[in-house]
Amino acid sequence: MKTMFVIEAFSLACFVLLSQVTAKNSEDIRCKCICPPYRDIAGQIYKQNVSLKDCNCLHVVEPMPVDGKDVEAYCLRCECKYEERSSGTIKFTIIMYLSILGLLLLYMVYLTLLEPMLKRRLFGHSQLIQSDDDVGDQQPFANAHNVLSRSHSRPNMLNKVEHAQQRWRRQVQEQRKSVFDRHVVLS
């Protein structure tokens, strides 16, 4: 589990870096020139997809609003900046973030709403006996102790995963008690 997480983290980092390098389409570079108001011409912003060496007033400002002799004075007041971005990285990051958020929300809905309902339907009402210190505890994972004690003595993968999950739930419940209920840590 630990190495898988590390490999995942690594591949994520590599993917992001790679996508930055590979997704360089022409729309991702631009030269932006801002020209303030000059005499009776209003302020204007000009954008073009040119490279760094062409990023100056003469190449980008089209059509030039002033005549020949005023061009230099006009261009002196303009400021041109070269900017780059990676649209591939942005798209990948946002979509990945939304999918992780969506998965977490689904898991949260499953844990808080669906699982107690399913367990109640599978095992019947009598099996859901709360342990002593969880009386009246409506939190998620409240019946972690109960399910753990009902192990079916099948030492296979599924049982191990369920045991690990129950252990994690107990830990989270302990954390929740100390942070939210007893206010011992992280007031």
């Binding site: 801002i34 942005i90 973030y97 942070v179």
Partner: protein
């Protein structure tokens, strides 16, 4: 089937072995250090045997650098993901990009040609919600609909954030820096730096910042980086098995966290040195620098802001400042110190109320209420509607001829033809006065709302809100000074340095100095603050004003209370943190602090060869001490060593399970050779290997000043008190902390942990 066997081993519950620590206990720094020395010596001696052993020793030596590299890569990546996601989600509250929904406002209008000079952000691809839903862009109806949807989105984001924190990782709330300070001083909080905490903190940090609450992401980024550090420590047994070495890695990871939060690698290292770490040897300095550098490089290659800069507040002006301007800078420093004191007192009072009264029982409701109030009050004012980082960026920027915002609505001389950097001082137009009113309201709003926001049950930092408060105050002062210099340039104070037609005053610089002053007033940082500020802005010319403001704010704030916000939170929670900076100047002796006191039951000890297993088990069951001294016999009470409770429990449990013949009446002995017993007695149990033969002792007349120094410098957990070789009592870290609290007239019962 070997693969599945290994996978299933990961899912098994780990057996705790001798030498680990329990949750919410302090580690023994000396023991960790000596274990590391042993391990190193073993590897070095084995490396001479074969080539393979030599390679293994080289790998062991390089494992530290590999860990730093991995921490830098992962922290940089996560920070880039967080920045991009926050950028997008903040704009989601106001509208959506129709051509590609994953673009924020600025990215959506990046290639559009319909942007105008006055309205740089408008383009047809990005529409506000009212325009999308009803087709009207202007008007009262559209405004109300935008307002309503803004509040709705803010509430949704914060509700998701607090629910995720509550269900999956309750340790992910808050800033994280007080707890990390305590962990780095030797405290154990299991799960605080775990994988689920890392995942949830990253995801909910984005939600919390995007919901428009008055909080920042710098403190939580330090927590995220330390979680990455902990994650990679578990790959190498050199760090996973040794708590002392692990904390070296965590110090370096904290530096990497600040480095990506601010784009300030050197500032990050100094922040880790000054604020977060407890012990900071030179080796850690070098490694922290490497980790911070790798993290900054990774973030730069992801390029979240599209213009090859690391942070949003990069400023480019180089106008000089004048000596007479030191007066307003020092005034800003005083303001920063006063605000810092006010904030710390009010926030601690509110957090204490949350801890002790009914308010603490409704965390989700509290978050939703504060978000609702923030969103409702923030929308009308354009300076609070946008994200705090954008606000700070606008306040730091100087107004050239190219700006068209309300704050830069100066009356321009139409014949002016200077290059863009050297605009002379101009009179303010009506837009500037309007902006001043709105900024003043924003200042009051931010001062009040941050007090209630910091400390809620979602990830919350306070660097950005403090900087915002300072930047607003600084900008207001700067504009005031600028207008005074323009309209009254014949007064004595301005005559010497400000000629009409020159560019005297830069209000953006005042905003920077104000931000530094407020941040220094709250956190009491000094050198690291100045370095972070000048790395943030690139203004090496402005080091002296920043230093003046930082020093002034620290003096003013220290006059009211010695602790910064993080130390105050540590005290509020009762963590066993022995601050390096406190001075203990009272004349008490070790006998005054040691236990047992006069009326207490006598000290619980074990003898070296006459205690039975049953006695030990009863002792463990009846008391809750962390360890027991071992003496020669109850009559002579000469000290042999010290044994930890956890080691005793595990050793006896192991012995009962694994060794034959060990029963309740077996004798436990700590000497080299078994005691002489009749043959009919059951087999004795040797426990010498868990005995610490060199416990720290002081005599009863040692002054407490020295004892506190020993605890601080060596990181002890307990110290035994002897008189002429005989054991008298014990002093634990908790006793020391309680004594110090008592001497400072604080409540000694507030120290909760061992």
């Amino acid at each position: 089937m070997n693969g599945t066997g290994n996978l299933m081993d990961f899912l098994d519950e780990p057996f705790p072995d001798v030498g680990t620590y329990e949750d919410f206990h302090t580690i023994d720094w000396l023991r960790e250090k000596s274990r590391d020395t042993d391990r190193h010596r073993k590897i070095t001696s084995k490396s001479k045997e074969s080539i393979w052993e030599l390679i293994k020793s080289l790998l062991d030596a390089w494992s530290g650098w590999v860990v730093m590299l991995l921490i830098g890569l992962l922290s940089g990546t996560l920070a880039g993901v967080i920045d991009l996601a926050v950028d997008w989600m903040t704009d989601l509250k106001e509208g959506v990009c129709l051509s590609a929904f994953w673009y924020s406002h600025e990215q959506c209008c990046w290639t559009s040609n319909e942007t105008t000079f006055d309205d740089r952000d408008k383009c047809p691809q990005w529409q506000k919600w009212a325009e999308l839903m009803t087709g009207h862009a202007e008007g009262a109806g559209a405004y109300v609909l935008n307002y309503f949807l803004y509040v709705l989105w803010a509430l949704l984001f914060s509700f998701l954030a607090v629910s995720l924190v509550r269900v999956f990782a309750p340790y992910a709330c808050g800033s994280g820096i007080p707890e990390i300070k305590t962990i780095l001083s030797g405290f154990i909080i299991r799960g605080y730096l775990g994988k689920w905490t890392l995942l949830i903190k990253t995801v909910t940090l984005v939600l919390a910042v995007s919901s428009g609450l008055s909080l920042g992401k710098e403190g939580p980024l330090v927590h995220v980086a330390c979680c990455c550090g902990n994650l990679f420590c578990s790959l190498f047994s050199k760090y996973s098995k040794n708590e002392g070495k692990r904390r070296e890695v965590l110090s370096a990871a904290a530096a990497a966290g600040v480095s990506v939060a601010f784009g300030a690698p050197i500032g990050g290292v100094l922040f880790s040195l000054e604020e977060v770490s407890y012990y900071f040897p030179l080796k850690t300095l070098w490694r922290s620098f490497f980790a911070a550098l790798v993290a900054a490089f990774t973030l730069r290659s992801i390029n979240p802001f599209g213009n090859s800069r690391l942070v949003l507040f990069y400023v480019e002006y180089h106008t000089p400042w004048y000596m007479a301007e030191l007066v307003p800078f020092i005034l800003l420093g005083v303001f920063g110190g006063l605000w810092g004191t006010l904030f710390i007192r009010a926030n601690i009072a509110w957090c204490r109320r949350r801890k002790t009264t009914q308010l603490g029982k409704y965390p989700v409701l509290e978050v939703i209420a504060v978000t609702g109030i923030t969103a409702v009050l923030a929308f009308p004012n354009p300076y609070t509607r946008r994200s705090t980082s954008e606000l700070i960026s606008e306040l730091f920027n100087d107004c050239g001829a190219l700006e068209s915002s309300q704050l830069c609505d100066y009356v321009n001389n139409p014949n002016m033809s200077r290059p863009v950097d050297d605009i002379p001082d101009r009179p303010a137009g009506p837009g500037v006065y309007n902006a001043l009113w709105q900024l003043a309201l924003a200042l009051i709003f931010k001062i009040v709302i941050t007090i209630f926001t910091f400390g809620m049950k979602i990830p919350s930092g306070l660097f950005i809100p403090s900087m915002a408060v300072g930047a607003i105050a600084g900008r207001i002062v700067g504009i005031a000074v600028e207008q005074m210099a323009y309209h009254h340039h014949d007064w004595i104070i301005f005559k010497n340095w400000c000629r009409p037609g020159a560019d005297c005053v830069t209000p953006g610089l005042y905003a920077m100095v104000g931000a530094a002053a407020c941040l220094g007033g709250v956190t009491r940082m000094t050198v690291s603050l100045v370095v972070i500020m000048f790395e943030l802005t690139g203004g090496l010319e402005y080091i002296v004003p920043l230093m003046a403001a930082a020093v002034t704010s620290k003096w003013v704030a220290d006059a009211f209370g010695k602790e910064g916000i993080y130390e105050s939170h540590i005290q509020l929670n009762g963590y066993p943190y022995l601050d390096i900076r406190d001075e203990f100047t009272h004349r008490t002796l070790a006998t005054d602090v040691m236990r047992p006191r006069r009326n207490d039951p006598p000290l619980a000890v074990l003898t070296q060869d006459s205690t039975t297993v049953e006695d030990v088990e009863t002792l463990i069951k009846d008391t809750d001490y962390n360890g027991f001294p071992v003496v020669v016999s109850r009559e002579s009470e000469r000290l042999i060593g010290f044994v930890q409770r956890r080691d005793l429990t595990l050793a006896i449990k192991n012995a009962r399970q694994k060794q034959d013949g060990v029963v309740s009446s077996s004798v436990v002995y700590f000497t080299e050779d078994a005691p002489q017993l009749p043959a009919s007695n059951p087999q004795p149990l040797k426990l010498r290997r868990i005995l610490n033969l060199s416990p720290f002792t002081v005599t009863d007349h040692t002054p407490m000043e020295t004892v506190v120094d020993i605890f601080r410098k060596l990181g002890l957990r307990q110290c035994l008190v002897t008189r002429s070789g005989r054991l008298l009592g014990i002093i634990t870290k908790k006793d020391v902390l309680r004594h110090m609290a008592q001497m400072m007239n604080q409540d000694p019962e507030s120290i909760m942990f061992n």
